[in-house]
């Protein structure tokens, strides 16, 4: 019963959404819109669930002095500071308005931290490329050459390196050709495969054949 009810709900809602894509007539469009509203509301409320779990897990780590517990203190402190400042120290204004304390923390702590994590990608791409782009075989060599051309062709340095080559065959032109044709063709093929995979998995889920995500076999 515990597993059967979710499977039935999944099947019914799945069929409604599927049919409403082809049939805009009431009551299907009404059911579709209601279900969409429900999804939006649940998405907003589920954030609370996660936050409570986060606090509980980290408080537990601190109280029992588990491994790496000082990091949990940093996490709880950061969470409390942002919440309290945003809720109680905005002087009646919207907490994200320019000049509020929350906005100060957002601009000077959160933004730089987020940007830093993203910027680490530049370093990781370099180390991953150094390790992965080796001409071990024909396919690896093709990958290497394409990566070279696109990396140089997509920045102005490619123009300066190949300006002596007739137009149409310069690094920038070849890079654009690689992105427009082989790359796009490959992306489209992968996307078609993925779409079929998604359709097949969705049919399995709607028919109740796939149950592992509910805790079933």
């Amino acid at each position: 019963m515990r597993r059967d009810v979710p499977i039935v709900i999944t099947a019914v809602v799945g069929v409604i959404f599927l049919l409403s894509y082809f049939t805009p007539h009431p009551p299907l469009n009404v059911l579709h819109n209601s279900a969409s509203d429900i999804v939006m509301i649940i998405a907003a409320f589920s954030i609370l669930l996660g936050v409570l779990n986060l606090i509980r897990v980290n408080l537990d780590k601190v109280s029992k002095k588990k491994r790496d517990w000082p990091f949990s203190i940093v996490l709880i402190a950061g969470f409390l500071i942002m919440t309290i400042v945003g809720l109680f120290f905005s002087k009646g204004r919207n907490f994200m308005e320019f000049g509020t304390n929350f906005r100060y923390l957002y601009d000077n702590v959160y933004n730089p931290l987020s940007s830093t994590m993203f910027s680490i990608l530049a370093f990781f791409i370099a180390s991953a490329s150094y390790r992965a782009f080796r001409a071990r075989n024909l396919e690896a060599t093709l990958l290497l050459v394409a990566a070279f051309v696109v990396m140089l062709g997509r920045v102005p340095i490619g123009y300066y390196l190949s300006s002596w080559i007739p137009a149409g065959f310069r690094l920038g032109d070849v890079a654009t050709w690689i992105m427009d044709f082989p790359q796009t063709a490959g992306q489209r093929a992968i996307m078609i495969g993925i779409a079929l995979g998604v359709a097949s998995t969705s049919i399995r889920i709607i028919l109740g054949l796939e149950r592992t995500y509910l805790g079933g076999e």
Binding site: A43, I125, S129, F133
Partner: protein, 282 residues
């Protein structure tokens, strides 16, 4: 371990150091402006905005967070600059929580520029920020029928009926152009699948360099124009005749790319020499 072996298994921190210097050092030479070649996909976005008559309504969807600021913020600033120059009305929104905040940052920065010192844009008349709402692609779908069903008020809580800009704007058919700045999900793909495919909206986009290849199959039929990465931002600034952050950072990006290419060459040379040595050793 011999030298070649050490080179093949080089400590990644040495690579990080070289990349760090390659990115940081060019920033000490801000006067260097490299030639920017304009691609068709960027020119198309520019041309579309150029062709819009004064007073046209443009929806700008900010679907990114501060992590993607270096690539997308210059695009946002250029686009807003273009809209203000053409006296277009801007409807700003975000499917990411920080999106509308990034929008305010971009708008504030552009309005402080010397060119627009004397222009007094009025919120609610010339531009409106609808803020963020949860729901991802469901939001886009609902906006296709009725924007007010999703955004009852702007980010400050002012009801849309009280904003002159939003009068007569019911859904995408009342919007002349949609421009999406996206760093992932929800983003350009969802805007294509819902706003364009379902409601016929006219869409242009700016994406991070990683995301741009993913949406390039939609160009040019369903996505009318596409800016990719910092190069896309630089191209747009070049077309606007206003070189700013994007153009400035291209020197840095060029040197960094060259350093990565050099490392790849070194790695392959070491690989082949090591292979040859092993064969000779046998």
């Amino acid at each position: 371990m011999n030298f070649l072996g050490k080179l093949l298994g080089i400590d990644r921190r040495i690579i990080f150091l070289f990349v760090g210097v390659a990115v940081a050092l060019p920033l000490c030479f801000p006067e260097v402006n490299l030639k920017i070649e304009i691609t068709d996909s960027v020119k198309k976005v520019y041309d579309i905005v150029e062709s819009l008559p004064e007073g046209s309504k443009v929806l700008i969807a900010f679907d990114y967070d501060p992590g993607s600021m270096p690539e997308l913020q210059p695009m946002a600033e250029s686009f807003i600059r273009h809209c203000i120059r053409k006296k277009l009305k801007m409807i700003i929104m975000g499917l990411w929580p920080q999106g509308s905040v990034q929008a305010n940052l971009a708008l504030e920065k552009v309005l402080r520029e010397k060119e627009f010192e004397d222009i007094k844009l009025q919120e609610g008349v010339d531009w409106v920020n609808l803020g963020y709402t949860a729901g991802n692609e469901v939001v886009i779908e609902r906006m296709g029928s009725n924007i007010k069903a999703v955004f009852a008020a702007d980010h400050k809580g002012v009801k849309l009926e009280n904003l002159s800009l939003m009068r007569g704007v019911r859904n995408f058919s009342n919007i002349d152009f949609v421009y999406n700045l996206s760093a992932g999900y929800p983003g350009t793909q969802e805007w294509v699948q819902f706003a364009v495919d379902k409601f016929g909206a006219k869409l242009g986009a700016g994406n991070t360099a990683v995301q741009a290849p993913l949406v390039s199959p939609y160009y040019p039929k369903r996505l009318l124009g596409l800016l990719g990465g910092m190069k896309g931002a630089a191209e747009y600034e070049f077309l606007m005749g206003f070189p700013a952050t994007g153009v400035k950072y291209m020197f840095s990006q060029s040197v960094a790319h060259a350093v990565v290419c050099l490392f790849i060459i070194v790695g392959n040379v070491a690989f082949f020499l090591n292979k040859k040595k092993k064969r000779q050793g046998r």
